[in-house]
């Protein structure tokens, strides 16, 4: 259980769409991970990044990456059969215990950790609706797989209307809560979206679990880099309940750059952009 990278061979690489790839490999330590947990993924001499598990099974583990920066462009150029370094799984993961009905809201590459969550909800017999959004059709992830698994319970939105309903996921979330209040809302996506999701849930009196993101170093709760107020995203999170987030002055507002400098979420997002 030593937290240093293990090199694993990329068994299979799937092109999800223009900008997203899913990488499959064997990594026993993650075979019983919870949806929402993440790995630190090391590309030697490039960088190491926290990446959510987008596939959890005994047979194989998957991660889905948006190709856009130095690290992610690098991983996109690695061919099948080559190795990457992984350590983890880290974080707490979503909790589905005792829940009978849920709405899941996924935004952009936030859909990655939602995939194993959907599997888990179905396995647990939870009545599940999924609202999945992206800027445009080509940004959608796992569309056909989700359609297959959820049928009419899948609701798609795009900012430009190139697929599904034109507009934001939160609009559909509002409609769905109004139609039938779920016991829990699960969500992952841009923090600005999560903030809106929290607001709607609070108003409707529905519990929620939201997945957050901050720049990380250790990933296991030592360095403090990922702090949001007194919370460590890597260890206390990345999944937080709405109750906890409602008390956080930094949620939706403030994040830390690599130096530890506190900046507005907007400035952080410009630096970060995922």
């Amino acid at each position: 259980m030593v937290e240093k990278p293990v090199m694993v061979k990329l068994k299979r690489i799937e092109r999800e769409n223009e900008r997203h790839r899913t990488y499959y490999f064997e990594f026993d330590k993650a075979s019983k991970a919870k949806p929402g947990q993440f790995l630190m993924v090391w590309l030697p001499e490039i960088d190491e990044k926290p990446i959510s598990l987008s596939k959890i099974s005994e047979k194989e583990i998957g991660i889905t990456v948006q190709c856009k920066g130095k690290w992610s462009e690098s991983i996109c150029s690695i061919p099948e059969g080559k190795q990457i370094g992984v350590r983890g799984p880290y974080g707490n993961g979503y909790s589905t215990e005792g829940i009978k009905s849920a709405i899941i809201v996924a935004g952009g590459c936030g859909t990655a950790p939602i995939r194993p969550l959907v599997d888990k909800c179905i396995a647990d017999g939870i009545e599940t609706r999924l609202v999945m959004g992206a800027q445009n059709k080509s940004g959608l992830l796992f569309e056909s797989e989700m359609k297959e698994k959820l049928g009419d319970n899948l609701y798609i939105t795009t900012d430009d209307g190139s697929a599904g309903t034109k507009g934001f996921t939160t609009t559909v979330l509002g409609e769905q809560i109004a139609k039938e209040k779920p016991e829990m809302v699960f969500s992952c996506g841009p923090e600005i979206m999560l903030k809106a999701v929290l607001g709607m849930c609070e108003k409707a009196g529905v519990k929620c679990q939201l997945s957050l993101e901050r720049y990380m170093r250790c990933g296991f709760g030592v360095c403090g880099q990922c702090a949001m107020n007194e919370l460590l995203i890597c260890k206390d999170g990345p999944i937080f309940s709405g109750e906890v987030l409602a008390k956080s002055s930094e949620f939706g507002n403030i994040a830390r750059l690599k130096s530890g400098l506190e900046v507005s979420l907007k400035e952080y997002a410009d630096w970060r952009q995922c």
Binding site: V2, E3, K4, P5, M7, M40, W42, P44, E45, D47, E48, K49, Q83, G85, R87, M216, R217, C218, G219, F220, G221, V222, C223, G224, Q225, A227, N229, E230, L232, R256, L257, K258, S259, G260, L261, E262
Partner: protein
């Protein structure tokens, strides 16, 4: 379990080490609430600094290794944190670093107004080129830094943090004491060391080298504290590899008045401080020790 450490009252002898968790005021207050007798902020530098790229912090079989590289928002950007620290339930130690006497002076000037309980002078970081160890391996330069900081610090206590890489740590401590240090902190991480991944055929840390902490370094830390205790009469904040109550007691017996912990939070959680303080108390009961202070330096008798 109350102690006094160079005039500062602490509810117990455990102290959060610098660079672990202490990036913001709220985490420091959380650690204080979880039992730490005092808390140390992550070392603050003269200007904004990114630190090294990832991987920066890794576990290996016998501890951690890190090359975070002293990231800092810079002392000018930390007003917000200092203000929020006013109601911290435990004394706050502010750790500072610089690449020159002038930088140390600048940072001291910038933070002294917030009146930390102690200013820790980090002259011992093994994973940066310009800051750190170069000051801590030489008795004269170490003393110069202490003297410069001390002048500006006024009545605020100053405590240089030493490196086990120094060839004569006792001499360096003595020279710091003469230069006005009110306490000595020892030790910073050991090394640097290196991890290699045979499959990747590469060093794992992006910086290649990093400071070693945790259980692996305890014997070195004990020896350093033992030697410093024989050399100075100011109190010692001993750290390096402490993870349980017995470790802490051993460190005090070697000569530490208070004990720091960093890596232990990985093995035992943020409440490591309460756990270790409880274990120390349990040990004291079993051994009929009334006052923890009795144990400081006893192995020297």
């Amino acid at each position: 379990m109350e102690i006094e450490f160079c005039g500062i009252k602490m509810k117990n002898p455990t102290v959060l080490a610098s660079g672990i968790l202490g990036v913001n005021a709220e985490l420091l207050k959380r650690v204080a609430r979880e039992g730490a007798g005092a808390v140390t902020m992550k070392s603050i530098g003269p200007k904004e600094k990114q630190g090294h790229s990832n991987p920066t912090v890794l576990e290996w079989e016998h501890g951690l290794i890190n090359a975070v590289g002293l990231p800092s928002p810079g002392y000018k950007n930390m007003e917000n944190e200092f203000k929020q620290l006013e109601d911290c339930e435990s004394p706050v130690i502010v750790s500072i670093y610089g690449a020159s006497i002038e930088e140390f002076e600048k940072v001291t000037e910038g933070i002294v107004g917030y009146e930390p309980s102690i200013i820790e002078i980090n002259i011992s970081c093994p994973n940066t080129k310009k800051e750190g160890q170069i000051f801590g391996c030489n008795a004269e330069t170490a003393a110069e830094v202490v003297e410069a900081v001390n002048k500006i610090a006024g009545k605020i206590k100053v405590m240089p943090k030493l490196t086990p890489q120094a060839n004569n740590i006792a001499e360096i401590a003595r020279s710091c004491e003469k230069a006005g240090a009110n306490a000595i902190c020892a030790i910073n991480t050991l090394g640097p060391g290196m991890l290699i991944d045979a499959d990747a055929r590469k060093p794992v840390l992006a910086n290649k080298f990093g400071g070693v902490s945790g259980p692996a370094i305890k014997p070195i830390a004990l020896r350093c504290v033992y030697q410093i205790y024989e050399a100075v009469s100011i109190p010692i904040l001993g750290m390096g590899g402490i993870t349980n109550g017995t470790d802490a007691i051993e460190m005090m017996m070697a000569g530490a008045t208070a004990v720091g912990m960093g890596t232990a939070t990985h093995y035992r959680g943020i409440n490591a401080f309460k756990l270790v303080a409880d274990e120390m108390q349990h040990w004291m009961k079993e051994h009929n020790v009334e006052n923890i202070g009795e144990l400081v330096g006893v192995v020297h008798d």
